[in-house]
């Protein structure tokens, strides 16, 4: 499993590599949180169940990231660990452990406006899963 930041002039992107789909989704979620805050300072105090649907792996991955970002934007919930409980074509269900953002304790990095479709890909290569996504910041 590996995550690397993509150099983009205006925005921020990530590329995630994983040995299987559940890891791709959990790593993608954790990478998103890692762009928002220093997740080393986030305590896994609360658990939030996140369940989304989407047609095809690409759409499902996009929907998963959108939902995690929405939870952050609506309630300030920031995750430390994502665990995928169930994943099948069209649906993913995950458990995210984390806490509400507290600017006094957490080192906040950047606000993300949206998960874009620009140059967005999810693909399988040499038995590994990959995802590439650019966020509007």
């Amino acid at each position: 499993m590996a995550t690397r930041e993509i150099e983009h002039t205006a925005d921020i992107g990530i590329e995630v590599e994983a040995s299987d789909l559940p890891t791709l989704f959990s790593s993608g979620g954790e990478a998103l949180y890692g762009l928002l805050v220093d997740i080393n300072g986030v305590r896994p105090k609360e658990e939030v169940v996140v369940s989304v649907t989407g047609e095809g792996w690409e759409e499902l991955f996009h929907a998963w990231l959108r939902e995690l970002l929405a939870q952050f934007n609506l309630s300030g919930f920031v995750g430390r660990q994502c665990e995928i409980k169930n994943i099948r074509e069209g649906r993913v269900e995950g458990l995210v452990r984390g806490e509400r953002l507290d600017l006094k304790r957490h080192c906040f990095y950047t606000e993300i406006k949206g998960v874009t479709y620009h140059d967005f890909r999810v693909w399988k290569e040499n038995d590994h899963w990959w995802a590439r996504v650019i966020f509007d910041v």
Partner: protein, 483 residues
């Protein structure tokens, strides 16, 4: 993404053309000096100009201003006009931050009158205007009913609740409200995100800047706008906050399906679009108008809070302060406008994503007070150097659908900027530049340091040389608050 190589031909001193090729329906045109173009040749933004040229119903050219840089979907600095009958509307041509824009406020003061109080002033501004991620609470949380009224009324909603004055409304594009707004089309999530964020700056490249007039290039125009040397001015750059971002996201789902339904071939999924004359297109325009109106109300409340800070810290009367709006521009928006296309007057939908309207003298859509000089255009630079005020021209109507640049444009990724900033003490650097800075996030400051941007002077000069807009005045920042 279009895969053909980018063929570029120089067609003017500061004008470059990408001839039609592949699925492009019109050529691309980029306004840039030779030096600015040299910085773009390895950049994906030129390919994005080509992608936009592939969309149905585009007329004239797929355009880019000299602050062009790699965005998502449209390039930032992109302008494209679409025929009302055959053309499309694309949320990717407006952006997540719908009606992100800038307003410029004048005062009666010269900088020497506030210099000693700059620290207190910036502290007060920072306390009254929430900034940073999830910033909220500038004004008491509003009810859903109030929010829907705000979404229809725009800046007027704020003025009628004591934030600013009636005359401010005349100095905004569309008088601070797009009439097409329909709040019933907004999602629950968009409405929820909007409840507590009226009057907040947010994060990223948004800011409030206190500046001084450093140079005046066109005296009669400056006098018409109420500007004089060394004058204290305030620039406010922000948009529609979470409500706008959510509106864009909601629309992308609809647009992806619509593109399939109407058999629109997309070179980039972020360019998802729908015919202007479709239910999906009409719904997006009405939702976009709501978000645009939210942005105007947001900037109006921020301006009013800023006035409070000045009055409290300086201990002078509103009359002595003379805090009044010069103009407010949108730089992420789509609007229905009349333009000349191949010799005939046509109503088209102009997308400006990171570009500013620049209508000429005499145009009926600019305030009567400015009708002899042209529409004021506000072009912020990076937070350490300078910002500009320009005016629109007839040449802009002929060459760029009445549009010009919107800012400096980034030259460096955020990650690269942070790496360079590691060796800098951000506070010391801002002090060295003579700017009192107050901010929430050190990481945002590191990403936004002046080295991450082009020199806005080069961008503005290109537009001045092509005659698209004329330089009126330059401001130097002396204080900034950021998220």
């Amino acid at each position: 993404m279009t895969r053909e190589p980018v063929r570029l031909e120089r067609v003017g001193e500061c004008l470059w053309e990408i001839p039609r090729q592949g699925k492009m329906r019109v050529p691309g045109r980029i306004f840039a000096s030779e030096e600015l173009m040299a910085g773009l040749k390895d950049d994906n933004s030129l390919r994005q100009v080509m992608n936009v040229a592939c969309l149905p119903g585009i007329v004239g050219y797929s355009l880019a201003m000299p602050d062009i840089h790699w965005g998502y979907g449209f390039p930032i600095g992109g302008v494209a006009a679409f025929d009302l009958k055959d053309g499309v509307i694309s949320p990717g041509g407006v952006g997540y931050d719908i009606n992100c824009g800038v307003r410029l406020v004048r005062t009666n003061l010269v900088f020497s009158e506030i210099e000693e109080k700059m620290v207190s002033l910036m502290d007060s501004l920072f306390s009254l205007i929430p900034s940073g991620v999830g910033a909220q609470g500038a004004i008491p949380k509003i009810s859903m009913g109030e929010e829907k009224r705000l979404l229809h009324e725009g800046a007027r909603w704020a003025v009628e609740r004591g934030y600013g004055r009636e005359e401010d409304l005349e100095h905004m594009e569309e008088d601070g409200a797009l009439k097409l707004a329909d709040a019933e089309l907004m999602s629950d999530r968009a409405l929820e995100r909007g409840l507590k964020q009226v009057g907040t700056l947010g994060s990223g490249n948004h800011f409030l800047e206190v500046g001084k007039v450093e140079e005046i290039y066109l005296t009669p125009e400056a006098e018409t706008l109420g500007l004089f040397p060394k004058q204290v001015v305030v620039l406010i750059h922000t948009g529609s906050r979470g409500l706008g971002y959510q509106t864009c996201e909601d629309s992308l789902k609809v647009m992806s399906q619509a593109a399939g339904k109407y058999a629109i071939e997309l070179p980039d999924r972020q360019l998802a679009c729908t015919p202007l004359q479709s239910r999906e297109g009409e719904d997006y325009m009405a939702a976009m108008a709501c978000a645009a109106n939210y942005a105007w109300a947001n900037r109006q409340v921020i301006m009013s809070q800023a006035e409070k800070a000045f009055l409290t810290v300086l201990g002078i009367s509103p009359r002595e302060l003379g805090f009044s709006l010069i103009y407010d521009v949108c730089h992420n928006i789509a609007k229905i406008e009349e333009h000349q296309v191949q010799g005939e007057t046509r109503r088209v939908c102009v997308h400006r994503k990171g570009a500013t309207r620049a209508f000429p003298p005499g145009h009926p859509l600019i305030p009567k007070a400015y009708r002899t000089i042209g529409q004021p255009v506000l072009v912020p630079g990076d937070m350490g150097r300078y910002s500009y005020l320009l005016v629109g021209t007839e040449e802009a109507m002929r060459s760029s659908f009445g549009s010009t640049c919107h800012g400096a444009g980034r030259v460096m990724s955020r990650a690269q900027s942070k790496r360079i900033s590691r060796s800098l003490n951000v506070d010391q650097e801002m002090n060295r530049l003579g700017v009192v800075a107050r901010y929430q996030g050190r990481a945002t400051m590191a990403e936004e340091m002046p080295h991450a941007y082009k020199d806005v002077a080069a961008v503005v000069e290109t537009m001045d040389r092509t005659g698209i807009s004329k330089k009126v005045a330059r401001f130097r920042p002396v204080g900034v608050i950021k998220g």
